[in-house]
């Protein structure tokens, strides 16, 4: 079974703090994704990566950056957290040929 893990289930940070969310997958997938999920807005893609050190912006990259130094690990960075970044953050991975994505359990981030 594919396993995607995220570093924290719940996180509370203050405005202006730098926040790191980490994601690890164990299926040797090429593609990894970061989404945020908000009521009424669905899943929105922040960034994705199709290879080590490669990244592409998704639909809402502003205020975020990412890092992929190893194939199994994809990090989302909030350079200076703001209250409008309070959300559920979901990481996913998928292989090169299939469009199926496998999600982690999510991190519920609250910025106060």
């Amino acid at each position: 079974d594919v396993k995607v893990t995220q570093s924290s289930r719940y996180l509370v940070k203050r405005t202006g703090e730098k926040v790191f969310l980490e994601c690890v997958q164990d299926m040797d997938h090429e593609n990894m994704f970061w989404y945020r999920q908000d009521p009424g807005l669905g899943l929105r893609l922040i960034y994705f990566s199709y290879d080590v050190k490669m990244k592409e912006k998704g639909d809402i990259p502003e205020g975020y950056s990412v890092s992929r130094e190893k194939k199994e690990r994809f990090s989302l960075i909030l350079e200076s957290a703001s209250t409008n970044q309070t959300s559920m953050y979901l990481c996913a991975s998928g292989d090169w040929l299939a469009y199926e994505q496998y999600f982690g359990p999510g991190t519920r981030l609250t910025v106060t």
Binding site: N31, G42, Y99, Q101, Y102, P105
Partner: protein
């Protein structure tokens, strides 16, 4: 921009009843996935449909891909409380990259 509209947005029915939820778009997709998400968890992949007109069954769940590959439906027979959750459809663009377009979801509640 490809959009996927799901209907209904909310559905609450009694245990044992049948139901159908819909996923519609004006765009063609090369494949379409259905996910179920329980509260506080990440989405879990249920099925992928690829061929226009394709029907797949997963126990009491029947998934159909439209002939033109623009829409899909999920039918649940004899719903059970364990079917409660947020159902998301997601489509992959033809000749596109690895990104998926997600629908906004149908929140299903089965009342015992």
């Amino acid at each position: 921009t490809q959009l996927l509209e799901q209907s209904p947005q909310f559905l609450s029915i009694q245990e044992g009843e049948n139901l159908t939820v819909y996923c519609n778009s004006s765009s063609v997709f090369s494949s379409l996935q259905w996910y179920r998400q329980e509260p506080g968890e990440g989405p879990v992949l249920l099925v992928t449909v690829v061929t226009g007109g394709e029907v797949k069954k997963l126990k009491r769940l029947t998934f159909q891909f439209g002939d033109a590959r623009k829409d899909s439906s999920l039918h649940i027979t004899a719903a059970q409380p364990g079917d409660t959750g947020l159902y998301l459809c997601a489509g992959a663009a033809p000749f596109g990259n690895e990104k998926l377009t997600f629908g906004t979801g149908t929140r299903l509640t089965i009342i015992p």
